[in-house]
């Protein structure tokens, strides 16, 4: 139960990082990555995964 970022499509804008309620998203080696241990898919927090909702490249997807 976690989301991941398809880094080939990521624009490295950081919008997802700012929205994640669980600080699961970090900037590593030039790209953003989701820590599956911290990602809750926003269950119980929001109606939809926040990263996927804000991502302009639609590259935050279920892992």
């Amino acid at each position: 139960m976690a989301y991941k970022i398809k880094s080939a499509e990521c624009t490295v804008c950081g919008a997802c990082e700012a929205e994640c309620p669980n600080i699961a998203i970090g900037f590593k080696k030039g790209t953003y990555v989701i820590d599956p241990a911290k990602c809750s898919e926003c269950e119980g927090q929001f109606d939809s995964p926040q990263c996927a909702s804000v991502c302009p490249a639609d590259c935050c997807v279920p892992a």
């Binding site: 624009t11 804008c13 950081g14 990082e17 700012a18 929205e19 109606d47 939809s48 909702s53 490249a57």
Partner: protein
């Protein structure tokens, strides 16, 4: 801000103060907040004028003398525009297909101070992306401004936004003393908006269609009102999209004017399949120079129009129309070592400008009076393309010009109406025919082109195309020269020696100038 020079006395006829020349559409009818404050010079709030007179993006006169700089510290965005591909910078403030060097707030401060030390014309620091300056909590934007206010308090601050997050951030904007805000408003009707914005991210949710456009519209209007209520200047940008919002822009102009926007800037949609934007891929075209001018002219009586915006990139540095960004990349700034900036050079420069500008208005008026006397209303206004490096003078070689400033000159005087970007005709010393063709199509609606110098070959091609190359005003002031030329032109027109170019249109160039990667 003790070292901001009072230029009021010599700027009596600055573009922002001048009343629109068109006759008012509705002669009577005292509507909303515009009551009692027409566009006339006497009526402009002195506080507004104080803020804009040295701002190159806002005051047409100031843009000849002062430089602005943008720092790209805000990569995230909270909406999607159909003319934007987020692989590149925000198309609202930059041009599509441009990539800026993203900076952290610390890097941005260093870069700004390095530029301030080198370029005394610097008067404005802006944040316009590369995404939306207020998205993602506006953290980087405010961090940058906070530092800057401490380190170089004489520099003016401004930011640009799509407006979605404005109502929630106005308080902080006011607190940081950011007195210029640009909002891109392309519609005041969600029915129109749904064709421009596929979605927005608002209150933890992605909204689409009419709902998205409705929320965005309401936030934009509320944000605009909240800003103007706090005395913060607001400029509105609109992207003109033929067939979608071109006719609607008059409504936008009225709506933003009634809410206190002091300037309205209508920019052409720049659309190219290569940019990978929705509009680019669906073949939505941008307006021609003539179509753009028609809408700009129609809006002239409303919120004041700005015509010299060059849609500079989010990390642009320099006087409008030039970009020295490549001299100040993060690596180069890093290598500069200790940076000292005490603002002395800027103070000296501003004093110099003050003395240079003194007396200019009198000479413009004299030239205008002479034209009115000799020409009267016999000749229609013409457009003139000018090669200039700034300082309001004709001081650029035809082959070195990366853009031409377009002046409309007629019995009512000479006024700046826009600029046209071109490829440098003689990049590296050799002029080639293909580039010349793009120059010709970019200024095809002009009767003449003023240059400091021009070679024989391009001269002949211009003449063949019906555009007169003029170098006899080299290094002189633009407006006076334009009026003097017009006098002569009207005389020649009268005896049939020249033909009018009315009805010609020109092509708006999409790339060139600063589109190269940093």
């Amino acid at each position: 801000m003790g070292n901001v020079i009072a230029l009021d006395s010599i700027l009596g006829l600055g573009e922002l103060k001048a009343p629109a020349e068109s006759t008012p559409v509705e002669a009577s009818g005292c509507t909303t907040s515009s009551c009692g404050s027409s566009d006339g010079p006497a009526d402009m709030d002195p506080a507004v004028w104080e803020k804009v007179k040295n701002h190159p993006c806002y005051s047409e006169e100031a843009h000849h003398y002062f430089a602005r700089m943008h720092v790209a510290v805000a990569p995230a965005c909270n909406i999607q525009c159909n003319y934007c591909n987020r692989k590149y910078d925000c198309s609202n403030e930059s041009r599509p297909g441009v990539v800026s060097e993203k900076l952290t707030p610390d890097q941005a401060i260093r870069k700004i101070l390095a530029v301030a030390q080198e370029i005394p014309q610097l008067s404005v620091i802006g944040i316009a992306g590369p995404g939306d300056s207020l998205a993602a909590g506006a953290k980087n934007t405010f961090a940058t401004f906070e530092h800057l206010q401490k380190k170089a308090p004489d520099l003016k601050l401004c930011l640009s936004t799509n407006g979605l997050a404005l109502p929630e951030t106005v308080e902080r904007i006011a607190q940081y003393n950011i007195d210029h805000v640009t909002i891109t408003i392309n519609m005041v009707d969600p029915e129109v908006g749904q064709h421009i914005y596929p979605w927005i991210f608002y209150k933890h949710k992605r909204w689409t269609g009419l709902d998205a456009a409705k929320i965005l519209h309401e936030q934009q209007m509320l944000g605009l009102e909240m800003l103007t209520a706090r005395g913060i200047l607001v400029k509105v940008n609109s992207v003109m999209i033929p067939g979608i919002n071109d006719a609607h822009l008059l409504d936008v102009n009225k709506a933003v004017k009634s809410r206190g926007a002091f300037l309205h800037n209508i920019m052409p949609l720049i659309s190219d399949p290569a940019h990978g934007t929705h509009f680019g891929l669906t073949g939505q075209r941008g307006p021609s120079a003539q179509e753009l001018k028609v809408v700009q002219d129609a809006c002239e009586g409303g919120a004041k129009l700005m015509r010299h915006c060059r849609q500079c990139r989010a990390d642009a540095v320099g006087l409008l129309g030039e970009d020295r960004g490549e001299e100040f990349t993060a690596d180069k700034v890093e290598a500069m070592g200790e940076i000292h900036d005490d603002g002395d050079a800027r103070r000296t420069y501003r004093e110099h400008v003050e003395s240079e500008r003194a007396g200019r208005h009198a000479s413009k008026e004299a030239a205008k009076a002479e034209v009115q006397e000799t020409v009267g209303t016999q000749a229609d206004p013409i457009l003139i393309a000018v090669a200039t490096k700034g300082g309001e003078r004709i001081n650029e070689h035809f082959g070195h010009a990366k853009e031409f400033q377009i002046y409309e000159v007629g019995p009512k005087g000479a006024k700046f109406v826009g600029h046209r970007r071109v490829d440098q005709y003689c990049e590296g010393g050799t002029g080639d025919g293909e580039t010349l063709d793009t120059v010709l199509s970019a200024i095809n609606d002009c009767a003449a082109v003023f240059v400091a110098k021009i070679g024989g070959c391009p001269s002949k091609s211009l003449e063949a195309a019906g555009i007169e190359p003029v170098d006899r005003f080299a290094f002189e002031y633009i407006e006076e020269s334009a009026l003097s030329y017009f006098k002569d032109y009207a005389e020649r027109l009268g005896r049939g020696a020249v033909r009018s170019r009315a009805g010609q249109d020109a092509v708006i160039r999409t790339g060139a100038l600063t589109a190269r990667r940093a």
